[in-house]
Symmetry: C2
Subunit: 342 residues, 2 copies
């Protein structure tokens, strides 16, 4: 039986869902994975931070967050923030869930670097570090004999990176194509049902899928950063989001939507990348897809990616009904893959 | 750099495709996996058998098969057959590709047992041993510190078993649903295009998908054995093919096909299993699926499985254009997963 001390940087929807999942899965982790865990540190943006080398009361921490309280109340000592917290807090595994920064990847990169430099596994649902520091953090992890994993950054908890890492050895990824942004797919689905763009955006915001400023989604930035992450990691070609040809969905009018429907087609914000010589061509753009396409049936917040390799016919992964719980599962899977032997 | 001696039991379409894939991937296996290989033994049903502890000339062996010759010509010594061959041939990895036996799983089970008992990894594309001897062979493999892998038995080389083994830790499979038999899916696709059942069967035979006696496919046995394999391995509930409720596609007339088309639906031979208490309900039967179903767009020889777990929304894997080459890749993946460290 091994014991693992966990640190949470960020304790919003995803962090809390992960805490609940860990509590629910605790018996299975003990019986099937021979492991126990404690949470030694949690930091939040607006609800303080707590540290306890002997293990925090995780259920109590969840209650405090639910009631809008402050985690300082359960901390055994005052704690600094960010990198200093990570350096000071005893721990074996860092879950990094600070808000994403598309331009620089900070402060997540610094958090993950500090974790690896102090001998902790560095796990994140944050796309920024993958596109802005994949090579540095991977090399640092290899030297420290620790893992830098980020399964939840693309398609939530659906296994994409671990698929290639462990289930598809010696497969060379030639190209991929898919729907990777839930918000725009939901908006296009709602517009097909008769809503205007503004109504569909409002609906997506109301159900918690779109942010107050939806431009990161509707202008294709979120999709572009996911394309860049897949290209960087799975094709081994470093690619920044601004190197992805990018067109959002603002030009897709209700008229265009209906024209597609009448032709038996659907507008989708299609992500794709394809090797070209030693480089890659990567693009995010709306496309009309026919009913024969595997992308056609992927509606609402569901997502799909179709991989073309040198060893299999087209292989697609489809994920339905994502949410904070599925993102949390991706982090749990990263944790178990980081610490289990063999 | 590690060296692995490979033995092929069965050298038909799949075995030969694996040999070609190994030759093609040899440089990557050396550079990325730090491994080299030699083939020390090959047995066939009608083209003799060859043994050479120093390594057979694999390209020569392929030429002999292509020209209809006999492998005895390149054997350095006379060799016995079956289990005795496996015991006598020096080797580290056995690829078992003898013809499938739905009722008993033999002689494949004996071949795999002999491999594990003599310290070899036991890898197979044969479904029989999975449904008839999964527990015995898994336990034997664990005791011998060797692997018993069979990725290619369901959906060819698409990663299904390795997905749960490595990419979805701590996920409990609650139910699944899919299209797992290529032949019937091709027949139903052709019938939708206007062919009779007999014409569609003849076409499937002509392109090498259906066997001379197509009953194993059209009566649902192949699908049932795959359901049994998935339930046995992924749900941990031993299930035999005859415990799967089974209805084939013989009752699906061109009239029924057209009625479905007019309703915007399609007939599919749907495989499913669902936990019920400590047990499982498993079924193979034709169903009309609507256009909103992920199964609808899966045509011709493509296949799909949709997994329902306790940690993610529905997760589907879709494989298009399977063939001997993709089955061969599943065996290569098993080999690499068996021998690579960590």
């Amino acid at each position: 039986m091994t014991h693992h001390r966990l640190i949470f940087i960020g304790f919003g929807n995803v962090g809390q869902a992960l805490a609940r999942l860990l509590l629910r899965k605790r018996p299975e982790l003990e019986s099937q994975f021979d492991l126990t865990f404690s949470v030694t540190g949690i930091t939040t943006g607006r609800h303080g931070r707590a540290i306890n080398p002997e293990g925090l009361d995780l259920e109590k921490a969840l209650e405090i967050m639910q009631s809008g309280g402050n985690l300082d109340a359960i901390s055994v000592s005052p704690a600094e923030d960010g990198v200093k917290f990570i350096q000071a807090c005893p721990g074996d595994v860092l879950f990094e869930n600070s808000p994403v920064n598309y331009q620089t990847g900070e402060p997540a990169i610094s958090h993950l670097r500090a974790a690896l430099e102090s001998g902790k596994h560095a796990l994140t649902a944050n796309k920024g570090p993958v596109v802005h520091a994949y090579r540095e953090l991977s090399e640092l992890a290899a030297r420290a004999n620790r893992s830098f994993f980020f399964e939840s950054t693309v398609m939530d908890g659906a296994p994409i990176f671990s698929l290639f890492r462990s289930a598809l050895p010696a497969a060379r990824l030639l190209s991929f194509r898919g729907i990777l942004n839930s918000t725009t797919n939901l908006i296009l689905t709602r517009m097909e049902q008769g809503e205007s763009f503004a109504q569909a955006v409002a609906y997506a915001q109301q159900v918690g899928v779109a942010e107050t400023d939806p431009s990161g989604d509707v202008d294709g930035w979120d999709a572009a950063i996911k394309v860049a992450a897949l290209v960087t990691v799975l094709m081994g070609i470093p690619l920044k989001p601004d190197q992805v040809e990018r067109t959002g969905i603002r030009e897709i009018t209700p008229e265009k939507i209906q024209q597609a429907v009448q032709a038996g087609q659907r507008w989708k914000l299609v992500c794709m990348a394809q090797r070209e010589g030693d480089g890659v061509m990567a693009r995010v753009a709306p496309e009309r897809v026919p009913i024969t396409s595997p992308l056609y049936a992927v509606q609402n917040t569901s997502s799909i990616v179709e991989f073309h390799t040198d060893v299999l016919g087209p292989l697609s992964i489809v994920e339905e009904n994502p949410g904070p719980e599925t993102t949390a599962y991706g982090l749990l899977a990263d944790f178990l893959n980081a610490v289990r032997p063999g």
